[in-house]
């Protein structure tokens, strides 16, 4: 029997709240593609991706159409390429990047992630060759994303790697100077990187995963924003406490998660692959009405970055996890709210007016995922300062047993306050000022490792 109140609730969700599945990501192991040379390895990589993902986009679109819930991004994550290409030289790695790019275009996906390495405790020769190839790889491919894990709660922070990555971020931006440093927007540095995250630029297919798997990133913040607006309109702000609003977020997340999981499981079943995880992250897009910043404003700060912003993000992040984890038996990935400045129109606006500073952004990342994400900084920022910004962000993750990351874009030739746009899902913003720039070089040059925190000793 159909119950009218339930149906009207879901109708509202689908019609007014622009429900979608943010990302369906196919994880593919490339370990069996390794041969004795880069050229034939590259060919095997292309063949494997094409054979597994040939129907992937069509399948996502078919189920999106059937259920009336579109799959916005279709993506692929692969085994971190440092494992696949260990022993190859820099040129060999670039050849593998081109194979990934060609395969991604051939199967029609948006982005492919996994041009990656894990250097949390030490940098192997393969890792080093991959990292050295990153600027060119990202400048000469369209769809390849790179992520490097440089620290973990278990092992501490590898500051030698962080110093190298500060320079790599700068080089990646300069290698793509004609595109405003877009290469750096496809490079993210992690602590505690998960191996099953469906979101880019940090998606990899971890070593503990099956040969291939389907992971799903559920919907964007627009659904939560509309649900909160409706609740406040119906019951009046004066009669609602923050606990009531947290409850509304939980319930909306529950419904959204169920939709995402349903579609993910159908896609996995149709492709004959195991279903991995639902990632509960709220991932904004530059579209108006699809912003995490907007939720903060609905929840009571007049501008993002005002005192209270961190508390609200914490509440939002927690409520999303509670609603989502009740909805799905297989939650994983990053599962937290993202605050990527360029990809979120309200955050970008707050950066432009100066309401949101880098320091406040960093504070907000202590209570959500993923970190200093899509932050354009002045092109003349010193590599040591970039490394120090990365170190600050990653240590928040290391100490708090959570994933954090930095995706900083030192925009070539641009100073703080100048505007930069990458278009599409990557968005636009003004370049954010870095205060105290150039004052961290001595710290970074020490190198070595920041030891793992005492609570890493769990055995």
């Amino acid at each position: 029997m159909i119950r009218s109140d339930q149906i009207l609730n879901t109708v509202d969700m689908i019609q007014k709240e622009n429900l979608d599945v943010r990302a369906v990501t196919m994880g593919i192991s490339l370990l069996d593609c390794r041969t004795g040379d880069a050229e034939s390895t590259a060919r095997k990589i292309e063949e494997k991706i094409k054979s597994l993902a040939g129907n992937f986009v069509e399948t996502c679109d078919r189920f999106g159409g059937k259920y009336g819930v579109p799959v916005v991004n279709k993506r692929i994550s692969v085994t971190p390429i440092a494992h696949v290409g260990a022993g190859f030289d820099r040129a060999g790695f670039i050849r593998l990047a081109k194979a990934l790019d060609a395969a991604a275009s051939a199967v029609g996906i948006d982005i492919i992630g996994g041009y990656s390495a894990n250097v949390e405790k030490g940098v192997g020769q393969g890792d080093l060759n991959l990292i050295r190839s990153v600027p060119e790889a990202l400048a000469t491919t369209a769809k390849v994303c790179s992520s490097i894990n440089a620290g973990s709660t278990r092992h501490g922070l590898n500051m030698d790697a962080v110093a190298l990555l500060g320079q790599t971020v700068k080089d990646a931006a300069e290698a793509s100077a004609d595109a405003n440093g877009f290469g750096a927007a496809k490079l993210v540095v992690f602590a505690n990187q998960p191996g099953d995250n469906p979101f880019m630029a940090g998606a990899i297919h971890g070593l503990g995963e099956a040969d291939a798997v389907i992971n799903v990133g559920v919907s964007g913040p627009g659904v939560i924003a509309r649900a909160l607006e409706r609740k406040i309109e119906m019951e009046g702000a004066e009669s609602l406490g923050l606990d009531d609003l947290a409850e509304e977020i939980k319930q909306a997340t529950f419904r959204v998660t169920r939709c995402g999981e349903l579609i993910g499981r159908k896609v996995a079943e149709a492709l004959g692959l195991p279903f991995g995880v639902v990632d509960l992250s709220l991932a904004p897009t530059p579209s108006v009405g699809d912003s995490v910043g907007e939720i903060l404003k609905i929840l009571g700060v007049d501008d993002v970055g005002a005192p209270g912003s961190t508390a609200i993000v914490a509440m939002l992040n927690d409520a999303v996890k509670k609603g989502g984890s009740f909805a799905s038996p297989s939650v994983g990935g990053l599962s937290g709210a993202f605050i990527p400045v360029m990809e979120d129109s309200v955050l970008a606006e707050a950066a432009e007016t100066g309401c949101l500073t880098l320091e406040k952004l960093e504070a907000m990342t202590c209570v959500c995922s993923v970190g200093l994400d899509m932050v354009p900084i002045p092109g003349d920022t010193a590599p040591e300062t970039i490394a120090a910004l990365i170190a600050d962000e990653l240590m928040i993750g290391v100490i708090n047993c959570k994933t954090t990351a930095a995706r900083l874009i030192p925009v070539p030739g641009k100073a703080a306050g100048e505007f930069v746009s990458f278009g599409g899902l990557f968005g636009a913003s003004v370049v954010m000022p870095v205060r105290n720039s150039g004052k961290s070089a001595r710290f970074v040059r020490f190198g070595g490792r920041i030891p793992a925190p005492i609570h890493s000793l769990k055995n």
Binding site: M1, I2, S4, Q6, I7, L8, N9, T10, V11, M13, I14, Q15, G65, K66, Y67, G68, V69, F254, R255, R258, C259, E261, L262
Partner: protein, 179 residues
Amino acid sequence: MAERQIMVISVMDRDRPGIVAEVTEGVSALGGNLADLRESVLCGWFTMILVASFPADVDAARVEQALAKSTSSRVSVVPAEGSMAETEASDQVYVLTAVGRDRVGLVARVSRFCFDRGVNILDLASHVDGDQYTMMLQIDLADAVSRGDFKAALTRFGDESGLKLVLQHNDIFRATNEI
């Protein structure tokens, strides 16, 4: 087990306590075994449909007579042809909601629209709030024109009729509402 007769029984009366007891006691007194039952009360009127199987020597006329004695409600009994097996649900079941200003002929228009496109209505409920009329239909598109064509026709129908029409897959409805 000896062959049994399947019968469909419908009951209608002004709502009062005891109707279900009277009817089901009458059914069991004749050795009838209930297969399914649905009751509903609309604007103070009770209605119930039930399906039961009876011993082979009990016919519809006897059931109707017996129930007329055990209850004062209006009862009609029809022997059902074929088996009682549940029909396999198609995976093309959708929920269609239609919302508009209350006026004569809305249900007729929507149901005619569905019928003309080979769409079977599995369940239908309505809800009136002030002058706004909401219809919720569970429909099966398995024998319909293609889903794309149906959606396009639905959009045109919405524009012509002034109804706000939303189609969602039954699985989405279930996934978002069941714990």
